[in-house]
Subunit: 134 residues, 4 copies
């Protein structure tokens, strides 16, 4: 993890538990998407949905410990790769000092009007690189 | 309940359970919205989101029995009131022959471009009335 | 609204928007359940799911304005009625200084082992009454 | 894909769309978990939550096309690997004859009482292998 990363605290919700008494595995991708908001703002400062310019190409997630209800979760987010039109976001969830999950998500800088990817501008690249630890 | 109503079978999903071992109460409004799709089609036959013309004004829901994972749920839907610009949808969830919840939702025929309600046309009213049991 | 109420700030999540560009109506009951956590703690200080003692009997929700992505929401929660075995929670969502929705939820103090409601103790009643404005 | 696979049709729900007008990326893992129910039944025929014996170790998902509201989705599920205590499930979502996403999920045969993985029995292995195409 680089020294510079985004960090957001999430309070698990009662409806996010499942019948096994833990936070359901499908909830973590929702938290991770929510925690990428500072990255969305780099690409679209107003967060105006009509000007959205990112698309998720895919992600890989690993669950290392159950995440529980009743205690806050810290989601740490940084940039693990910057390519020409795409970049990768690394994220970890932590609870009571232990990592419970980690994911890497590939996002593409996307022109929805033209329906195709576009080269990430140098200005944006500079902002992303601040969170890569390079 | 009128003799003519919509009916849709829903298979509860594992992630819809909560830590108490039942389907979480917030899931029923999601199922009920999904089960209103035939009504959405009366107003917007293509279901094209860019031509959407309904808005939810509110709803009341009562839970009569826990809904469980592992068994199908039948959602019954009909029209309980037709007004000038709004109408009310009545819905019940049934599992193993017993009602588990019921709700009444008020929907407004809405012009999103003008940002105001509009009078329900006679053609649409005729279609809604078929499901009121009148 | 009484002078004493719970207040929690919620950051709308990207996945909580729907195709109309607003927060989907089914999300508000999820936020309102999450915002009832201080009330859950009155009944179950550890929030241990195996000792849960509340059940939702039903709720009524009214949507007064669309709730948008990109701006925080304030959820205000207080107690609007305390009965023998049940009580009612009133909640409002506010965004940019305007109310977007309000709900009243009836909760029952419940013994899951015996599968029946139980009288709310005086100790708990005292704590609830602090949030009724009486 | 092997000749023998599970197939389930899912009707996208209105609340599963997001502000970009498509099904939100976090919904696909929910559908894929729901579509694994026949596999859950191999391990736990009654689907009784108190006897659950599987845990998700992680998954990888790739989005190949947007998934839309208003048209059914077919989820195809098969077994891509069977190990000693774990196995991998491959899944694809299809809409209008085109693949929109695919995922591989690793599940572990788990003893929740002992809090550790256990060897998959030969009887279960035989049932899993029927869906590997071997």
């Amino acid at each position: 993890m680089p020294e510079t990363f985004f960090s957001v605290e999430i309070q698990p919700r009662f409806n996010e538990t499942d019948g096994l008494g833990h936070i359901n595995n499908t909830v973590l991708p929702v938290w991770f998407e929510a925690a990428r908001e500072p990255i969305f703002e780099i690409f679209n400062p107003s967060l105006d949905l009509s000007q959205w310019n990112l698309i998720v190409a895919g992600f890989t997630i690993a669950y290392t410990l159950p995440t529980n209800y009743g205690m806050p979760v810290l989601v740490k987010t940084w940039i693990s790769r910057v390519g020409n039109a795409s970049f990768e976001v690394a994220q970890q969830s932590w609870q009571e000092g232990k990592q419970t999950a980690e994911a890497k998500t590939t996002l593409v800088y996307y022109d929805y009007a033209l329906d195709k990817s576009q080269a990430i501008t140098d200005v944006i690249k500079q902002q992303l690189i601040r969170f890569t630890g390079e």
